[in-house]
């Protein structure tokens, strides 16, 4: 009995002094592998930069798994201070008013500077509410870009395509002739759907892409995107394009092994590719259809944002605010940007990276941010749709059916439209 008492006092004493010295907060994220190591480095730098707060990053699996764990933890009252939520989960977490503290409020309450205009244009409003108030702090912002194997393009005697017309007529056939599979991509809903709409400035959903209301209808069943998928099936037939399933890396691996000459992936894939491939590679902007638009617009930011979860005391919220402030600083952003390839979120960070000559050394690292800084249009700010994870699953399923010849393009898009609208109206009901 005595021993237990002593042990208990000792343990209590330890935690007491621990919390007295510094406030501890947790941060759940979905950054695995090389990205995870960089997150740990950022946290370490933050902890070393001051002695009031201590942050512990925890890897929770994929984006979907991280969001699910966060929701389950919130319902059990065990939520972390910070959670990383990806683009498709934004509506879920922003819709649940009361689950998160808007980053704008959090920083202002803690007397830290915040000006939304410090953030680069493409990043500014994706994770904001209808009034333009920033709710989530854009953290790892990426956008889909076209990576290419320079050696392969040289062998084929072509340059990276600017438009899909150019790919179909010149680049694709030449690469095939040179013995390569010309093209693969890693995320059909993200690259060939959401960003297809923003690149061509087409409306993706009613209610201003879903930002201004809950009774949103998806407008995915559009002739331009159907023509694009029709072209994909034809390219696949002709050996100009290959699809290796829904898994991200199944499509990236053949590019890294040199079998596929060009790959559409995330600007955040840059760091990993650089570590692994032996050939010369670079990147360029996401191609567009000249037949659809002659003035291509910016793409959406993808990746994820950090949300401060509610239900914590003031001291912990202050720690969260301090971490956000640290994260948005130009030095941290530049380090994160250089290590991973995710775009810097503030103009100051972008300028600092340019000053340091980063883009002279690695021109591919600038492509994402250039694409996000292209002129915008009415429908390029982002989209906000509930149950969007399920909507993406429906898209993946139907696109898979198109590319394996199980469904026609018309049929698949009709199914996507019907099922997505059904999910949207169900989501609206959960919010009522």
């Amino acid at each position: 009995m005595k021993i237990i008492k002593i042990a208990a006092t000792a343990a209590f004493g330890l935690t007491a002094t621990g919390s007295f010295a510094e406030t501890e907060i947790t941060f759940w994220h979905a950054m695995g592998g090389q990205l995870g190591e960089t997150v740990n480095q950022v946290a370490k730098d933050f902890n070393a930069s001051q002695d009031e707060y201590k942050i512990t990053p925890v890897f929770k699996g994929s984006y979907e798994e991280t969001l699910t764990s966060g929701i389950a933890a919130f319902r059990a009252g065990e939520q972390p201070n910070i959670i990383q939520v990806f683009d498709a989960g934004a509506a879920t977490v922003i819709g649940a008013a009361g689950a998160v503290i808007p980053v704008e409020d959090l920083l202002e309450e803690n007397k830290l500077d915040f000006d939304i205009n410090d953030y680069i244009a493409g990043v500014r409003y994706f994770y904001a509410d209808a009034d333009g108030k920033m709710i989530g702090m854009p953290f790892n912002s990426s956008t889909p870009i076209l990576y290419y194997n320079q050696d392969a393009l040289d062998a084929a005697g072509v340059t990276a395509p600017k438009t899909w017309e150019e790919f179909a007529e010149v680049t694709g056939p030449a690469l095939k002739e040179a013995g390569y599979i010309p093209l693969s991509q890693s995320h059909l809903p993200w690259i060939f759907t959401e960003n297809f709409f923003s690149r061509h400035n087409l409306q993706f959903a009613s209610n201003d892409n879903g930002y201004t209301g809950l009774d949103t209808q998806i407008m995915v069943n559009h002739p331009a995107i159907k023509a694009h998928f029709q072209a994909l099936t034809e390219w696949k037939e002709a050996g100009l394009f290959e699809w290796y399933g829904t898994g991200w890396s199944d499509n990236q691996d053949p590019f890294e092994s040199g079998e596929v000459a060009m790959w559409l992936g995330s600007s955040g894939s840059f760091g990993g590719i650089q570590d692994r491939v032996e050939f010369n590679f670079s990147a360029t902007m996401l191609p567009y259809w000249e037949g659809v638009t002659t003035e291509p617009t910016q793409t959406f930011i993808g990746g994820a944002a950090l949300f401060a979860m509610s239900g914590h005391d003031e001291a912990e919220n202050a720690a969260t605010a301090a971490f956000f402030d640290f994260l948005a600083s130009a030095d941290t952003q530049v380090m994160w940007h250089k290590e991973t390839g995710y775009v810097p979120i503030t103009t100051a960070a972008y300028e600092l990276a340019a000053e340091q000559g980063h883009y002279k050394e690695f021109p591919a690292a600038e492509v994402g941010i250039q694409q996000l800084s292209l002129p915008g249009g009415d429908y390029t700010r982002g989209y906000r749709m509930g149950f969007y994870v399920q909507i993406r699953d429906v898209m993946n399923r139907e696109y898979g059916r198109i590319l394996t010849g199980e469904a026609s393009v018309d049929e698949a898009f009709e199914i996507i439209e019907t099922e997505a609208n059904d999910l949207l109206s169900r989501f609206a009901q959960t919010q009522g």
Binding site: G98, G247, D393, N396, Q431
Partner: protein
């Protein structure tokens, strides 16, 4: 059989309480909660919910993909149960006959039992991988372009193969002990009456193994329906896409990954009812034909 009697009711109930509490906490309470939430549409964070009556159920009956998952689960369960039982029985009968090195032989066959389902799935992914998989390469030699994660039935084949492989050892252990429990005198008598090994097996050994077989049938159906989750998840790499899905995996995809708690609760209630029906059918019709010694 002799019945042991307790003097009063209190003591046996006291002994039962731990078990009852565990069942109540881990089964009845969540099951009740699932039934309740299957009538609601809930905000994932638990802020708002709307009563929708039977809508969560009725949309399952009209959903094309739910029905296709249903039929896939039926095919999957049938194949996994049949082959894991049949192969295990064959191996057990052969192992029973081995005299020299019997222990080593049996241990090797039971080994696989120690592998966790997700690890088994991962090994499946490696064997069936599109570019580097050994099995993919073997099939390519025969001119078959095997595509895991692209072709629906290719992916299904990998799930079924790995699930069967994983379950064989359990069945093997039970069949082997069942075989060894058959009295030697019965076997010797059969040997005098009938010289054909095949007919001796079907007339004598198989009926005597029936109690074990029935038990294993139930265990295997439950395994194929529920415990293969880890295998399915690793093989599709967490991305359902156009891959086949079992009903249990679907509950996870729609409910946990997709955030639709009401809809997935309805799906789990449907599963509960299915298992209930299956169990009743098995005990009503199959067990009658089995004779316990």
């Amino acid at each position: 059989m002799k019945r042991a009697a307790f003097g009063q009711i209190g003591f046996p109930i006291l002994l039962l309480i731990p078990q009852l509490v565990i069942i109540a906490i881990f089964f009845y309470w969540p099951a009740g909660y699932a039934i309740q939430s299957s009538f609601y549409l809930q905000d994932p964070f638990g802020f708002g919910s709307t009563y929708v009556g039977l809508e969560n159920y009725s949309r399952l009956t009209t959903s094309r993909t739910y029905l296709s998952s249903f039929w896939f689960t039926v095919i999957f369960t049938t194949l996994v149960t049949f082959f894991s039982l049949a192969i295990a029985l064959l191996l057990a009968v052969k192992a029973d006959k081995v005299i020299r090195g019997a222990k080593t032989y049996r241990t090797l066959l039971m080994w696989v039992y120690a592998i966790a389902p997700p690890v088994a799935g991962l090994m499946g992914v490696m064997l069936f991988d599109q570019s580097r998989g050994n099995i993919t390469q073997v099939l390519a030699n025969f001119g078959y372009d095997y595509r895991l994660g692209v072709n629906y039935w290719d992916t299904a084949a990998a799930m079924i193969t790995v699930s069967i492989w994983k379950q064989i050892p359990v069945n093997f252990i039970f069949f082997l002990s069942g075989l060894q429990a058959i009295p030697k005198s019965v076997r010797e008598a059969a040997l005098i009456d009938n010289a054909s090994g095949t007919s001796r097996f079907w007339d004598i050994t198989f009926p005597l193994l029936a109690p074990t077989g029935f038990f294993l049938l139930i265990i295997n159906i439950t395994y194929a329906l529920f415990d293969t989750f880890g295998i399915v998840d690793t093989i599709v790499k967490g991305e359902p896409g156009n891959n086949p899905m079992t009903l249990v995996y679907r509950v996870f995809v729609d409910g946990f990954r997709g955030g639709d708690l009401g809809g997935s609760s309805a799906q789990s209630v449907v599963l509960m009812v299915l298992v209930l029906i299956l169990t009743v059918v098995q005990f009503r019709f199959l067990e009658r034909r089995i004779h316990y010694t």
